[in-house]
Amino acid sequence: MLDVLRINLCSPLTLSFALGVFARLVRSELALPRDLYTGLSIYLLFALGLKGGVELSHSSLASISGPAFVTILLGCLTPVSAYLVLRRLGKFSIADSAGIAAHYGSVSAVTFIAAQQFTTSVGAPAEGFMPTLLTLLEIPGIQIALAIGAFQMSAAAKASGGDQANQPGRSVKEIMHELLTSRSMLLLVGGLVIGTAVGETGWKPVQPVFEGLFKGLLTIFLLEMGLAAGSRLGDLKQAGFFLLAFGIVMPILHGTLGAWLGSLAGLSVGGCTVLGTMAASASYIAAPPAVRMTLPEANPTFYLTAALAITFPFNLLVGIPIYYEISKRLCA
């Protein structure tokens, strides 16, 4: 276990993230240009999809249906559990609880990638169709949490005889459209389809870019993630102790649940680790704008700090090795 932790901590990925946090702590002017950040995230998502697609072209439908089912199940369970914990135990407002739950119901692509790299490096690579599961998990969690929020708030408004009716809410259709056609969705699913269609032959000539550069560019991306997380550290106090604990304990619970469901669905140790990590991770790309648009009453400091400055580094540093150890035991 300690050895696994050391491998994880001493990788350029983790250390780049740490460098980014450090740069913010010493108030450096270091910043990645906005367009570089966007370009890198487009690259990472598309490459992820493409490579997943090429590997998917070797998988049978039968082998994927069980894992797909448990993934959708995870997408329905985790936002509810997160919401209940925040509202009941944490005494957060309806909007804040739903807003944070939307982040924990969805999934962080970078954490997913880190988990894939990790399982490969410890010699237990995950199934080739994992990126397919990623796309299945990305959206339902956000939707369910936002629906809970909207429903509860209008109930509360009615109870207090409020005039919430004049609030120009955004239609479910609009939100669904935005999520389904969002950048990450299109690139992931598009990459998957293209990768499956072209197979190994088509993949070869583009492999130097979409596979060869992957880890190096991810290292640069993590530098930026570190900068973003570092600039949130100052908000930790405002977020409070409960949110700090939530950002660490909830992932462990969701991670265990994910690994367990994965083992039931017959995934390998690597697959369980990655599915557990997906369940444990909190989105900070797809969820924030959706929540900001739909639940503006929710305080961004809470959900951004929890997802980005607590749960993301936690998963990156110690979470993934933990889910791996759990998966090893579950699959033994």
């Binding site: 906005r34 973003a228 900070y284 924030p288 704008p289 900001r292 648009m293 503006p296 951004l304």
Partner: protein, 100 residues
């Protein structure tokens, strides 16, 4: 050179609102708009370099009636819950008839 005095409405808002603001501007009857990326700080929080994105600065030249309508929409829909600032001034527009 003949000019027409018109209202120049400037709105600075967090960038998630971009699509909705464009929609509102069109609905209110403006003939056009110009948008620029911006960063800034206000009473709420810093909006620069964070994952949520920065600000936009929208300006639109409109008749006083359209300006009034737009301000109403903006203030009821966004003021309380989003980071938004809006201000009006009067400018002399060439070929101003085009924008009324």
């Amino acid at each position: 050179m003949k000019t027409v005095p018109l209202c120049l409405l400037t709105v600075i808002a967090e960038s998630v609102l971009k699509k909705r603001l464009i929609h509102d501007v069109r609905e209110a009857g403006a003939r056009g708009y110009t948008i620029i990326d911006a960063e800034g700080e206000g009473t709420r929080q810093r909006r620069v370099g964070e994952i949520l994105g920065a600000n936009i600065r929208l300006e639109t030249i409109v008749s006083p009636e359209v300006a009034e309508r737009l301000l109403n929409v903006i203030s009821t829909e966004y003021f309380d819950r989003y980071a938004v600032i809006a201000y009006l001034s009067t400018v002399s527009v060439i070929r101003g008839e085009k924008y009324v």
